[in-house]
Amino acid sequence: MKTLLLYKNRNFDMNQELPWNEQILVQDLGLNIVIDAMAQGDEFLYDVAYKVILTSLNDVDEITYRQNILKDCLKHPSIIRSIYDIAVETLENEKKNFWSIFSSYPSSILHSSIELMYMYIDMLIKLRKIAEENIDNFESEGFRSLFSMIQKELNDEYIETVKAHLKELKFENGVLISAELGKGNKGINYILRRPNEIKQSLLGKLFSKKATAFTSYIPDRDESDMKALSELKDRGINLAANALAQSADHINGFFKMLKTELAFYVGCINLYEELVKIGEHICFPVPLYADERKHSFVGLYDISLSLTMKKRVVSNDLNADRKDLFVITGANQGGKTTFLRSIGLAQLMMQSGMFVAAEKFSSNICIGLFTHFKREEDDEMNSGKLDEELSRMSDIVDNIKQNSMILFNESFAATNEREGSEISRQIISALLEVKVKIFFVTHLYELSRSLYDKKMDDAIFLRAERKPNGERSFKLVEGEPLKTSYGEDLYKKIFKK
């Protein structure tokens, strides 16, 4: 039994490897603020959201599969939460009440497993009830097949069979075991047997009248003999106990998976409700294949900034088809970093099947997202800083591939403009050759100018907007790089007072 709420055909693996640059991504994009909003203080929700978002999907169908499930969730938040609660309650029950399954004796393993199974069966019945009530209200393939699987697999007939076995496994009429003679006439091949039905015979008689049988008794007081007797019994029930204990584990695994996969959607519901409070828009993005090139959106905003400010923030629009290089120049504090973040966050959220922070959004899937942001806190000498930057770049180059996306934020400025530009140019042109999509925020005029003068079809130049009176709108507009970055404006603003 699989839940299949994150992938159509496989389980989500909480232990899977995250991309090597997960921490860098979280730091550069402010992702933790988004995940905090999803978790609402719950550690487990945080963990799951973190892992799901950072293990991006690279397939349009997989993304759509999740989007549809998420749409159902946003429509029926209370049902989703109550299923989630059943999973949580089941797992807590197990933890609180059934620790003795750690015993190594088959008889006690069997005993604990029987009790555990009764509890699981009750919870599964509850789950089935929700499934029965709601199957027609849900539209996504994921929920419909989960609900119908539960109905089919856990039908009344099966539940009755299970209960009958749980009763039989208590062996109220004794344990019947067959054996043969092995080395030195010791018993071997102990196999648990179900007693043959005996027609019209006396109660408790397990061997028919004709068959010979001999009986012996172990004195109750003889401890070592009683121990030997229960070991013999254990040999007989070993396999049955194992089967039952493993089934209990499997059911536990089912509830764990249900809890884990739903945790992601519960997180999404939480985030959605938060954004609704602030009054921000969301939309379900349209992912395109990785080898296409598109970045088109209306009202894209930095969700992490919005959540921090607890109010609506500036948004941007863009319509860029067949562009590989996005060069962003312009005023200081003009919203360039914010823009870069909103690009990165939207990409990650889209590729984890989530909604994104925009009114409309469509982009091609990227095979791996990379960020190379200037590290402000680095207070070393310039040469050391460039070393550090280049070493980070080298790590990226070890991992980057065709159709990856990389966001540069004022990179390679830790040297003079000519050298920084030359380094950047070489990196950029190499990455473009291997079909990497690049967003490059830079103050290096020589760089942006030379790129602009090349008049490349696949490049687009954006500039932080500055109104004629020197005020910033924090919006980006298309435009060629300008020589000054308006430091003069800043100077004036600060020294005005």
Partner: protein, 511 residues
């Protein structure tokens, strides 16, 4: 003559053989180490006495060499090996039967042992009819074992054993445990309930989970409950168990004496061939020497020290072989040369090949003729004791006197660096006196010494020197060749002793 022994022709040799002590020369020649290695893993056979006893008889040596040659046929070797593995297994079962407490358990172990015995004998007899045998020993043994397996007593033993084994393994029963009662009946096709349970719960399977199956320890002995159940089973299947009782009483002495002895004695050959196979794998040669009781013109080409080679092979180092021959009146090798250059090894090799030839074994070398000695006497310098110089010289003289008084003209004497604890003048004097006695006795002798004068002392002496690479005197070849002694070795020996050679000083001054 009916088959007696695969190892001895003379019945006298076997008397009290297990009481023999290790010959005195074993330690000096490192033969004790070799025999330890050869017999390793075969303790149960107590093979060492076979190595302690040299038959001193050309006929016996030839008898053994033939058998050894037959066993070099891998097919024969393998079937003897499998035969003795079965016997080892059988003995373990018998040991177990003795250790155990419950009757039906003991009896079954005993029955298994007999079963293994019958199989071992039948298959060996069968194998031997298909293998080409050339040695008198094996041919006669084959005749013996073929007659044995055709004997009425063996045939009825074999049939009874097989029948009982079959009957017992067909026994199948059911145990009903309820409270403190155990009810045992014949198995009545009751269905496997574990399967049903596994099938019912199969649908929850998803990925790997913990294995909850308990691993039960399977001791050979039984607990009281198992014994009780076995008693009940014995009542259910009374005929079979009565037959088992009867079988055990009737067949206590089931192993044929001659076959039992063969199984022990053949290990002498097996162990030696197994031992030398690893040298053969490295490309070293072994041969069957001609052993002569008259001629002292001995030779062995391509020989080496087995104990040293054994160590070198485990360190993956190469083994250097040597040649030696004595012709005409030559009797005595005087070995000189730098230290640690293979002199002692040469002396040991000479003794070892004579010894192994004398017990009928193939020896290191590709071509050899050796002398049938009556005894080997050795005297190797012992650990030096600076405080007891006089005592040591005296001890040495007593020991050498003892050797020379016991030695006959058929003996071999091997001397290694004697009289080092006195002045050179004394040493030369004493050595010459000893040499006179050796020459008088016409002894075969190897004498490792730093006294060059000895090498040209008589027409019976042959000077051999261990060689060095001419351009680099510190590199030893470990080759010992016929060559006049050059007089350098003593000085170098002393210098080395005090670590004052060029290399040494350089090394020491550096540190």
């Amino acid at each position: 003559m009916a088959f007696q022994s695969i190892l001895f022709l003379n019945a006298d040799d076997i008397v009290n053989i297990d009481l023999l002590n290790e010959p005195v020369f074993f330690k000096d020649l490192n033969i004790d180490q070799i025999v330890d290695t050869i017999t390793f893993g075969r303790n149960e056979y107590n093979l060492k006495p076979f190595f302690y006893k040299s038959p001193n008889d050309i006929e016996t040596i030839k008898y053994r060499q033939e058998i050894m040659r037959d066993l070099e046929n891998n097919e024969l070797f393998k079937c003897i090996k499998s035969f003795s593995e079965k016997f080892q297994h059988m003995r373990e079962d018998l040991k177990q039967a003795n250790k155990l407490y419950y009757k039906y358990q003991k009896e079954r172990w005993f029955l298994d042992a007999v079963d293994i015995y019958c199989d071992a004998v039948v298959s060996l007899a069968n194998d031997l009819t298909h293998i080409d045998l050339n040695s008198t020993g094996f041919v006669e043994f084959r005749e013996y074992i073929l007659n044995y397996v055709k004997s009425d007593s063996f045939i009825s033993l074999n049939i009874a054993t097989k029948k009982l084994e079959e009957d017992l393994s067909s026994v199948k029963y059911s145990i009903l445990i309820r409270g403190n009662s155990i009810k045992v009946g014949k198995y009545d096709s009751e269905v496997n309930y574990s399967h049903i349970v596994e099938e019912t719960f199969k649908k929850f399977k998803e990925g790997e989970v913990k294995d909850y199956r308990k691993k039960f320890s399977d001791y050979d002995d039984m607990n009281h409950v198992e014994a009780k159940i076995l008693d009940l089973v014995a009542q259910l299947y009374k005929e079979i168990f009565d037959a088992l009782d009867d079988f055990c009483i009737k067949n206590t002495d089931y192993v044929d004496k001659t076959i039992g002895t063969f199984e022990r004695e053949i290990q002498f050959y097996m162990s030696y061939l197994e031992f030398i196979s690893k040298f053969k794998d490295m490309g070293l040669k072994f041969c069957y020497p001609k052993v002569d009781s008259a001629s002292k013109e001995v030779f062995d080409y391509g020989c080496f020290d087995l104990a040293l080679a054994n160590k070198l092979i485990s360190n993956k180092s190469t083994v250097v072989t040597n040649d030696f021959y004595l012709s005409g009146k030559e009797r005595i090798f005087v070995v000189s040369g730098p230290n640690q250059g293979g002199k002692t090894t040469f002396a040991r090799t000479f003794g070892q090949v004579h010894y192994f030839a004398s017990i009928g074994c193939p020896i290191p070398g590709y071509k050899a003729q050796l002398f049938l000695y009556d005894n080997i006497f050795t005297h190797f310098e012992r650990e030096e004791n600076v405080n007891d110089l006089h005592g040591k010289l005296e001890d040495e003289l007593i020991r050498i006197y003892d050797i020379l008084s016991k030695a006959t003209s058929n003996s071999i004497v091997i001397l290694n660096e004697i009289f080092t604890s006195t002045t050179l003048k004394d040493a030369i004097f004493l050595s010459k006196r000893v040499m006179d006695r050796i020459i008088d006795l016409d002894l075969l002798c190897v004498w490792v010494t730093f006294i060059d004068e000895l090498s040209v002392y008589s027409e019976k002496t042959v000077s051999v020197v261990n060689t060095v690479v001419p351009d680099n005197p510190s590199l030893r070849t470990y080759k010992v060749i016929r060559k006049p002694a050059d007089g350098l070795s003593y000085a170098i020996t002393i210098a080395e002793k005090y670590r004052l050679t060029y290399e040494h000083i350089k090394e020491r001054v550096k540190g």
